[in-house]
Symmetry: C2
Subunit: 244 residues, 2 copies
């Protein structure tokens, strides 16, 4: 089973050519997230290809999360694109059951701890300010709305991933966040879900601010542990009520 360093040539490459051209355009124009890019009709005309071809190309970018299409409005950049991008599409077969949730939590434990540690090492002053701001917002939301601070909680964690100096953390966790949302939509949780994890948000922040990677890692691990406990409690309650 010898392995040659050859990848099969692409029989047709119109779509890829379109994307390459478009990536070049985005770089030349220095377009960033949120910006609108040319309409499909314009692209088709300029690139001398059918609009359908343009659409297939954009569909690929959309699937990769690089772009967002809004009917009636336009197509907008959602991420940073460059000519040399490497895509690692990852699809996981995961359901809404307890086991799947627990498995994603194990991944999150691994990544969250590492991200917190890296953040403690690399975060600059501006990063710390931003994280602290998100923390304040979250704590305020927690107190005023008594617990329902899922959105603010998420933004706090996101700011940590973002300051880890490694965009992969944010990307991976973001996908898992979606899975959790799926779960919460199904009304099968305990009442005050993230309640117990609340105090650890501040302790994590403090360890990061003190540039103490191992301390930050430890606090992050504690936080995940409380979420796991909540999940187990929810599962036990479900068991009791005799769910399928």
């Amino acid at each position: 089973m010898t392995e040659f360093g050859l990848s099969p040539i692409q029989a047709t490459a119109r779509d890829d050519a379109v994307l390459k051209a478009l990536a070049g355009f985005v770089m030349r124009e220095a377009l960033g997230p949120g910006q609108r890019l040319p309409t499909e009709r314009i692209l088709a005309e300029r690139l001398k290809v059918s609009r359908n071809t343009v659409r297939e190309a954009l569909t690929r970018w959309e699937g990769l999360g690089l772009v967002e299409r809004r009917q009636g409005s336009g197509t907008y950049l959602k991420g940073v694109v460059s000519l040399d991008m490497l895509h690692m599409p990852l699809t996981l077969a995961g359901g809404n059951d307890f086991t799947s949730l627990m498995q994603t939590l194990e991944i999150r434990r691994a990544l969250e701890a590492e991200a917190a540690a890296l953040c403690a090492v690399r975060a600059g002053q501006a990063d710390l300010v931003e994280i602290g701001r998100k923390l304040d917002i979250m704590e305020q939301a927690f107190h005023t709305r008594a617990g329902m601070s899922a959105e603010e909680d998420w933004e706090f964690h996101q700011s940590i991933y973002r300051s880890s100096g490694n965009p992969l953390f944010e990307q991976i966790i973001a996908a898992m966040h979606e899975l959790f949302h799926r779960f919460w939509e199904h009304p099968l949780g305990v009442r005050d879900f993230g309640h117990a994890s609340f105090p650890y948000h501040r302790t994590i922040y403090e360890r990061i601010a003190a540039h103490d990677p191992e301390g930050a890692r430890a606090e992050a691990l504690k936080l995940i542990a409380t979420v796991e406990d909540d999940l187990k409690r929810g599962a036990a309650k479900l068991e009791l009520s005799g769910q399928k």
Copy 2:
């Protein structure tokens, strides 16, 4: 900025509906990798949608690596599809450079350590035998071929992920494995790349066999650290030779 518990309704969903129907079809027919699925024209007719819509849907699956289209032949399954799939398109800006490799290594450090620890807790006797076997094969390959044991090395690590009791570890790391392959194809590394990491494979195995999670985690971290060092040495050498 009040946040209602409402998610924006999906304006259009033809493509998604097509994919859902197709996923259902694949499951009912118990189709697996390598199998051919119906023609675009047939799908369009059966699902009462335009062939264009079918194509956009299949383009998405193709981008996700779930399917492979061969002009003149047909569309073939490349992976396992199910109705409840979670997609995580990971995008790395800047393909083969040092930074990208380092970033994937940071992810791998987080996951590898956690997987080793979990494996030490959950691995049964059969798992240990399997891991030990892979280790023997790798060590033998290392000695006979003097270092070039990338394939066997990979299989050893895979066996650990597989015994971690959480399939997500293997899937995530597998996606990154491809990136490393690409890197090695480019002849820009130090000569004996994985050399220094060799002894830690056995120490990891020993800690797992002893059901010592923290020990296993520590050894895994040491292993990754040596790889990071190798990478840094390679990068420094590149710097010296004045590469673009």
